[in-house]
């Protein structure tokens, strides 16, 4: 016994990285480098651009923010952005919820994985390509109009491309996977025995769904709606390519100020509004729902 132990301890340890790892505090670089990177390339640039929105080079001023809200054209873009975002988010919710629920109810892992892949493939494909495919689908001679006319629902092609409808379709296509993932990730955590318990006590499937799964999936619904709404507010591509002249979003207006009218201050003022809305949307519900006891263990 003793001999064996002595032999083992006698094997020398070869440490290649010895010097690097023995410098005290080396591991703090793990935290410092990424923090500095993001501070320098996200935090400071955003602060600097925000400053342009409330600073005219000499003094702090609300002039630009006031100008944005006092110019009907700009105000209309802001209102429109919120309106379109709301509709697109709602549509994504109505389409995403049943899909998430089916994923939750599926017994077979194989089919769940296949369904998941079908949801995720569009998610991985560039938003530009997806927008282009909808340009083809929605055009007057496109598949949608052909199918509707073939079914005899319409006599002549509907104008779908370059309308708000087109824009919303493109947005929903983008938002849908996010919505499904948000809802499903919460649903997955709902013990299926809760459904069994409800049914055992006499609840029919629809009632059991309404009383158990639906309320318990609400955190996922709220998260999905918020994420999709926040994404919608920042949309850029679909409005230009699929939407009409009225479908300009805040992002497009900001780009316009930078590239065309070279008005950095107004672009910055709009950015403040956009970012402010985003932060409010994320922070407020979090603060409200965080403490609710029925959500303990759910979030």
């Amino acid at each position: 016994m003793n001999n064996a132990q002595m032999q083992i301890t006698a094997v020398p340890l070869k440490r290649k990285n010895r010097r690097l790892s023995t410098i005290p505090g080396m591991h703090w670089l793990l935290f410092i480098i990424p923090a500095l990177y993001m501070l320098l390339l996200t935090f400071i640039p955003i602060i600097k651009i925000m400053k342009l929105g409330v600073h005219d080079g000499v003094n702090y001023t609300f002039e630009y923010l006031v100008q944005v809200f006092n110019t009907p054209v700009y105000l209309k873009v802001i209102i429109n952005t919120f309106k379109i975002s709301f509709i697109a988010t709602l549509a994504a919710l109505l389409l995403g919820y049943p899909v998430a629920y089916l994923l939750y109810k599926m017994q077979s892992d194989k089919w769940r994985n296949i369904t998941m892949s079908l949801i995720m493939i569009p998610f991985w494909i560039s938003v530009l390509i997806r927008t282009f495919t909808w340009m083809v689908m929605l055009q007057n001679e496109g598949v949608i109009n052909k199918v509707l006319m073939g079914l005899g629902l319409i006599d002549q092609p509907l104008q779908l491309l370059y309308t708000s409808t087109g824009n919303i379709v493109g947005m929903v296509h983008y938002l849908f996977p996010y919505m499904v993932l948000c809802i499903y990730s919460v649903m997955k955590g709902i013990d299926s025995r809760l459904l069994q318990a409800a049914e055992g006590m006499g609840a029919r499937p629809w009632k059991a769904f309404r009383d158990v799964v639906f309320p318990l999936s609400m955190p996922g619904v709220i998260a999905g709606v918020l994420i999709c709404f926040v994404f919608s507010l920042g949309f850029f591509i679909t409005g230009v390519l699929l939407g009409g002249p009225k479908d300009k979003m805040i992002s497009n207006l900001i780009a316009n100020f930078i590239n065309v009218t070279l008005n950095w201050h107004l672009a910055a003022a709009l950015s403040i509004i956009l970012l402010g809305a985003t932060i409010l949307l994320i922070a407020v519900p979090f603060l409200i729902f965080r403490k609710h006891p029925s959500l303990k263990g759910v979030i």
Partner: protein
């Protein structure tokens, strides 16, 4: 007396796996029956079949003389306590217990009365406005019980209800559940793998293994007269003496043991001549032979070791025919016993049970 719950040749397969294999069960009104078995024995599947969460491939289930085989779970009106309690986390304790009553469209005032009565029964008055996450495991367990009985179901199912509790709490809950069950007189089917729980709570125990019922009997009979090798070993400790039937006639069997001794005893089941059998004896029924003590059978054994087990000692010993046995002896009897000592032990046929050795062939191979 006709059975309250009757299961007739129930069969449930998952692909090629027979989870429940030709099970017959009949349970009387007000009876507390425990289905006991190791994991994978089909006990939980059987419970799900009764509850209606799984459907039978074959057979029938009757409750109160009515066939419920084809009924959906929500039409069966059966109360159930789930393993993890399955309390609705988004509802208060009151709403959880009121839920089955609301489904039955009971008037509001009456719901209130019933819920408070149920809360009182499980001794949780004053907890009605809390959420499940604010309760301890034992308290959640009681809420689950209250929710399962509040609508006066004819049948109560318990799916390993005490599995998640620590030992002290478990014993206390065993007592409380039994007390409530007796008070209500509700027919109860409990599923567990814990033999102690089964022995203390049940009127009758149904031992399952590999999807089949091995034996269904009162706790006492199950312990003292096991009818299969599995049952004898699953409940409590057991010693087996291997033997062979040399003659069998009208319930009386003559068995020749390995050491040449011949035992005459009654068998519960007919056993063929020349078949391998076991004589099963509990450790506490094997005694040290003193002068003047009379036993029908005596063995010379060699002590292999002794272990302190709290209230007594367990002595491991080896017979002349190389059969390992275990004997439970009081402290005084083992005080001077040392490993290697020779000992004479004896037992009585009245304390033994005769069971077929269905694994004899396997044993021979291994």
């Amino acid at each position: 007396m006709t059975a309250h719950l009757e299961i007739i040749s129930a069969q449930k397969n998952y692909k090629n796996f027979k989870a429940v294999d030709n099970v017959h069960l009949s349970i009387n009104k007000g009876e507390f029956v425990t289905i006991l078995g190791p994991s994978g024995s089909g006990k939980t599947t059987l419970l799900k079949l009764i509850a209606g969460f799984e459907s039978l491939n074959n057979g029938a289930i009757l409750l109160d003389g009515q066939e419920i085989t084809k009924k959906k779970a929500y039409d069966r009106n059966i109360g159930m306590v789930f393993q993890n309690y399955a309390l609705f986390p988004h509802m208060t304790i009151f709403d959880n217990i009121a839920y089955p009553l609301q489904l039955r469209k009971v008037p509001k005032q009456e719901i209130k009365e019933q819920v408070y009565k149920a809360l009182q029964m499980v001794r949780l008055e004053g907890f009605d406005s809390r959420f499940p996450s604010q309760l301890s495991g034992g308290q959640q367990q009681r809420v689950a019980l209250a929710r399962a009985i509040v609508f006066n179901p004819p049948l109560l199912l318990l799916d390993e209800p005490l599995g998640a509790l620590d030992k002290n709490l478990r014993q206390q809950m065993q007592f409380e559940i039994k007390h409530i069950q007796e008070k209500l007189g509700i027919t109860t089917v409990n599923v567990t793998h814990d033999q102690e729980e089964a022995l203390t709570m049940s009127d009758r125990i149904c031992v399952m293994n590999h999807g089949r019922v091995e034996q269904m009997d009162t706790p006492e009979r199950l312990y003292n007269c096991p009818q299969s090798k599995f049952v004898s070993s699953f409940i409590g400790e057991i010693n087996w003496f291997h033997g062979e039937i040399i003659h069998s006639e009208s319930g009386l069997s003559i068995v020749k043991l390995l050491n040449g001794q011949v035992v005459r005893m009654k068998a519960e089941q007919t056993l063929k001549e020349n078949s391998a059998v076991l004589i099963a004896i509990r450790p506490e029924n094997i005694h040290v032979v003193h002068e003047g003590s009379a036993y029908t059978h005596k063995y010379h054994v060699k002590v292999m070791g002794k272990t302190y087990i709290g209230d007594s000692f367990r002595v491991e010993a080896m017979t002349d025919t190389n059969e390992r046995i275990s004997i439970k002896l009081p402290y005084a009897a083992t005080k001077e016993m040392a490993v290697g000592d020779q000992l004479e032990v004896g037992w009585n046929t009245a304390d033994a049970s005769l069971i077929p050795d269905d694994e004899a062939k396997n044993d021979a191979v291994s």
